[in-house]
């Protein structure tokens, strides 16, 4: 289990991730690229706006990848670095990034699995460097949310149940 420390990323990080994903989408002719963290949270979406619920999608993606990691270990592999789910019209290619996040590429018949795999391989390296740097930063003091945040959050929780 990973530690309980929070981690954060800012607008600079988001811009750098977006540039990498935009390039991937152009070169692979894919529809949408998403970054999901291993705990099931959506970090970034580029390309065509997804028609599905992104929160639920992120949760299921992390679970999918984690379950397949366990299957890999049963076979004596350290991990499955990538997964492919093929549909009639739409397919998903998922790739591990530095054991920290998952890159998901949604594509259709406009492109091929081979091209997507090829382009993802290059992008995973750039993203790995980015995320490794971001997680190393986690040990330094992060900018904090405004004072009073916890009190306001408690008020909102009370309101949830009327």
């Amino acid at each position: 289990m990973s530690g309980a420390a929070s981690w954060s990323f800012g607008e600079d990080d988001a811009s750098r991730i977006q540039l990498v994903l935009d390039q991937l989408l152009r070169e692979a002719d894919a529809r949408t690229a998403l970054i999901v963290d291993r705990t099931g949270q959506m970090l970034a979406t580029r390309g065509e706006e997804p028609t599905f619920d992104p929160v639920a999608f992120a949760s299921l993606t992390a679970a999918d990848f984690s379950a397949n990691d366990q299957l890999a270990r049963m076979l004596g592999e350290t991990e499955f670095g990538a997964l492919f789910h093929q549909g009639d019209r739409e397919s998903l290619y998922l790739a591990d990034v530095a054991r920290r996040v998952i890159l998901v590429v949604l594509f259709d018949n406009r492109t091929t699995l081979g091209l997507v795999k090829l382009r993802v391989r290059g992008v995973v390296e750039s993203l790995s460097e980015l995320f490794t740097e971001m997680f190393e930063r986690r040990d330094r003091p992060a900018p904090r949310v405004e004072a009073g945040f916890v009190g306001d959050a408690e008020d909102e929780i009370d309101k949830l149940f009327g």
Binding site: R38, G40, L43, D53, V55, S59, L160
Partner: protein, 110 residues
């Protein structure tokens, strides 16, 4: 491990309902789902067996709205209670911020 996304101004926290089988973890989540206003909740996902025992997890996102400029959301999960689902239980606990322990307090169930 809560995630603070300064780019999209979002904070996400992960809470896991944990405890022995048939203790009411999924029922807790279903109750919250019923009580929370539609605008504040997302789709509830249950990966369960045909007999409705939790196989992998139940998942419910709850939106607290915008607090001090940050869109704040809780991700509520349950784990399967049965001992033989140990592997999936560990996966769900990855990156957890808080745990709610649920057990049946009936004397014959303790």
């Amino acid at each position: 491990m809560s995630l603070i996304n300064y780019a999209s101004r979002e904070i996400n926290c992960k809470l896991v309902y944990y405890g022995p089988g048939l203790g009411g973890k999924t029922t807790n989540l279903e109750y919250i789902y019923e009580k929370v206003a539609p605008a504040a909740k997302g789709k509830m996902i249950s990966l369960a067996t045909e007999t409705e025992r939790t196989l992998f997890f139940d998942f419910l996102p709850v939106d607290l709205g915008t607090i001090r400029g940050f869109k704040t959301r809780f991700h509520l999960y349950t784990v399967p209670g049965q001992v033989y689902y140990n592997a999936s239980r560990k996966l769900i606990l990855k990156g957890v911020d808080g745990v709610v322990f649920v057990a049946d307090s009936q004397i014959e169930r303790i």
